[in-house]
């Protein structure tokens, strides 16, 4: 018998559609890190990212029969993750923008910046740069942010980003350029 880990996504999905639930666990193992990273890029919070990405798996499984196979499983699944993240962001916006003070009070979420090999002034500049990047990403239009995060952070091709966002590659190129321009602008003011 074939090892489930060796099966392709489409084969695993087909088995799940036939009622073999445990094959979905293989898809969870395969995509949990990607799903979590996407959610973390959007939320910058470990617990929220965990909840949202797990919720995405639950929804994907509940709707597995609706997956028509016209796109690959991961673009379909990433779309679910992104939609949940955008919904969450919208809810958060209704509650109120997270204050800058609160962001700086949570150094745990930005640990990757606190690099002790650099001088304190360089660390301060790096920390400020990171804060500005996060703030710019947070205030950026959702479509630009999604295009940028999926291409830059997740390494999806523009063609795949277009599939996830259900738009054209040309539109994604424009979003990507605008996002990079906005991020660059936020850093220009720093130096």
């Amino acid at each position: 018998m074939t090892n489930p880990e060796e099966l392709r996504d489409e084969q695993l999905v087909e088995l799940c559609r036939q009622g073999e639930r445990h094959y979905f666990d293989v898809l969870v193992r395969r995509y949990m890190e990607k799903a979590f990273r996407i959610a973390f890029d959007f939320t910058r919070n470990t617990e929220t990212a965990k909840d949202l990405s797990q919720d995405a798996f639950l929804r994907a499984f509940a709707n597995i029969k609706q997956f028509d196979g016209r796109s690959s499983f991961y673009t379909w699944f990433y779309r679910i993750v992104v939609n949940l993240c955008l919904d969450h962001a919208r809810r958060q916006q209704r509650v109120g923008w997270e204050s800058l003070d609160r962001i700086t009070e949570e150094p745990g979420e930005h640990r990757e910046l606190a690099d002790s090999t650099f001088a304190p002034d360089q660390q301060a500049i790096a920390s400020e740069a990171k804060r500005r990047v996060d703030q710019t990403l947070e205030t950026m239009p959702n479509k630009q942010r999604t295009a940028f995060l999926l291409r830059n952070h997740q390494g999806l091709s523009i063609a795949d980003v277009a599939k996830v966002m259900k738009t054209t590659e040309g539109t994604v190129r424009v979003y990507l350029h605008r996002a990079v321009a906005a991020l660059r602008q936020s850093l220009l003011e720093l130096v």
Binding site: E112, A126, V133, N152, L187, L188
Partner: protein, 186 residues
């Protein structure tokens, strides 16, 4: 982002192409064209250098311990199992069901079905098109009563006719005496 170096601006017409060039998302022709421009343009070289320096750092994420992923996987699989159980909650009733309950439930279901068919919507058309011989007794009784009242009317009419008849001979006598008077027989 560790070194705060002044950012370079690119030639306007090449800015978008340089972003796509950095991501490797240009066609062969575009790549050649941008490459040729880069060869002689220090500003665009600086811009591309900034992208190469900044963008990978923005994507850098914290490494999480293996225990985090083990927990994550366990939790997700448990949640999936829970969701699956909720979806098929009725299956849990099957083992609790006693063997005698099967025919009992079947009988109840059949009774409900028969009652539904008799008094339900499906019976409406046959009810309205019911032949005359199947008219219920209550309605038939009403019909008899109607006939009774009709005959009562007739009886009343008969009594009226009778009273008219009683008046008639007088009228006939008056008329015959008038005729006799006119002929001079009286």
């Amino acid at each position: 982002m560790k070194n705060a170096m002044p950012l370079q601006s690119a030639c306007k017409e090449f800015e978008e192409d340089l972003v796509l060039y950095y991501y490797g998302e240009t066609s062969e022709d575009e790549r050649r064209r941008v490459g040729q421009h880069l060869f002689g343009c220090l500003r665009c070289q600086g811009f591309l250098g900034d992208l190469q320096r900044l963008l990978p750092q923005m994507a850098r994420t914290e490494e999480l311990p293996q225990s985090f992923w083990d927990n994550y996987y366990r939790e997700t699989v448990a949640k999936l199992a829970q969701q699956d159980e909720r979806k098929h909650w009725w299956r849990s009733l099957i083992p609790q069901m006693k063997i005698w309950m099967v025919p009992a439930l079947g009988t109840v279901a059949m009774t409900v079905l028969v009652i539904g068919l008799l008094f339900g919507k499906g019976n409406l058309s046959s009810f309205t098109l019911r032949p005359a011989e199947k008219i219920p007794h209550e309605i038939l009784a009403d019909e008899n009563q109607l006939q009774f009242f009709e005959s009562m009317d007739l009886l009343e009419s008969l009594s009226k006719l009778q009273s008219l008849d009683e008046q008639k001979p007088e009228a006939v006598n008056t008329q015959s005496s008038r005729m006799r008077f006119q002929s001079g027989t009286v």
